[in-house]
Symmetry: C2
Subunit: 202 residues, 2 copies
């Protein structure tokens, strides 16, 4: 088994943190996105849309998509559970993971892609969309502050993949000049806690 990884990109980090929480070690191969390694024919045979991460199994089958790769490890190594344990908690974690992905991570990624000078050569930038995305991300952080006034972790009492997605999104936000305001004390409290877990260094 081999994980195709990119140290500086947020999606591979989600997988690395997930594996660290599970205590699983997987051989990795670094793919340099700035060096264009993800767009080579060899890599596209593994990941047709040139996305990183990708997981190659020993029999040659390949999984792409961060959450699908996490799902595979969750099925193989259920403990500690990071995607729920029964029908409701599995659905609830999925709901929160998706909220954090679509409402926080994605607008932050869109802000970065459409406004950051370093992305100008890789992306057809539309600055106006970048700024709309910045507004969406900023408003979602405010809502997240209300959410985290009610629960310890994003999806409730237990740390889950939803926390990983949200923490990586918040860290990614720095690249897009999106910060958690000092007034968002619940997000600050949660972020300090999840960032202090050893897995956060992955």
């Amino acid at each position: 088994m081999k994980l195709y990884d990119t140290k500086l990109a947020p999606n591979p980090r989600r997988v690395r943190i997930f594996l660290a929480e599970k205590g699983i070690t997987v051989p990795t191969q670094e793919i340099s996105i700035m060096g264009g390694e993800h767009k080579t024919d060899a890599y596209r045979k593994l990941s047709p849309m040139a996305l990183v991460p990708a997981l190659e199994l020993d029999d040659g089958r390949v999984l792409t998509e961060t959450v699908a790769i996490c799902r595979y490890f969750e099925e193989l190594h259920p403990a500690p559970a990071l995607m729920g344990t029964d029908a409701f908690s599995k659905a609830n974690v999925e709901m929160w993971q998706r909220r954090m992905e679509m409402e926080l991570f994605l607008p932050i990624a869109m802000t970065f892609r459409h406004t950051h000078p370093a992305m100008a050569q890789l992306e057809e930038q539309i600055a106006a969309f970048g700024e709309v995305s910045r507004g969406r991300a900023t408003r979602r952080i405010d809502i997240l502050d209300a959410d985290l006034g009610k629960t310890r972790y994003i999806a409730g009492d237990a740390f889950s993949i939803a926390d990983i997605t949200a923490m990586v999104a918040i860290d990614f936000g720095r690249s897009a000049r999106i910060k958690v305001p000092e007034t968002a004390t619940n997000v600050q409290r949660w972020y300090a806690e999840v960032s202090a877990r050893p897995s956060a260094a992955a």
Copy 2:
């Protein structure tokens, strides 16, 4: 249990098709988006981001997010499986579902939102982003044609939630003037097959 539904929107249709494939009947309540019912305080208590669908359980707990709602029913009623049956197939279906969602459904939705006159009053439209999204969706249909040259269904030999997402995306494409070209014969063959299933009428 009650499903908050909107007949004309694509995401609730994904849940309806999923339930029809499972043979499950759930009481529904129609939420008129054009009538603004999703933005009322009463509905926001169920679905804070004003999204439809939402599933209210008998004990008052609520799930939002299409795929999370589907996950809940998949866990309660595993047969027929629409999200895989073992570690690899669950991850593989999730991978394809996400590909169809992020690479096809989302760009089609963005094209619709950012270019359709009917959305001008609901959305801060950025026409240039709509056209970039149109190009992404169109190119993904071409890639899907190559994908479906290798397999009967999107995720392999078995019909799955990935087919539901892709079929609903293709139908939604009409609202954005995105069509499957006649030359995409594999997509045409697949679309004819999945559209002929009784569930497609849901």
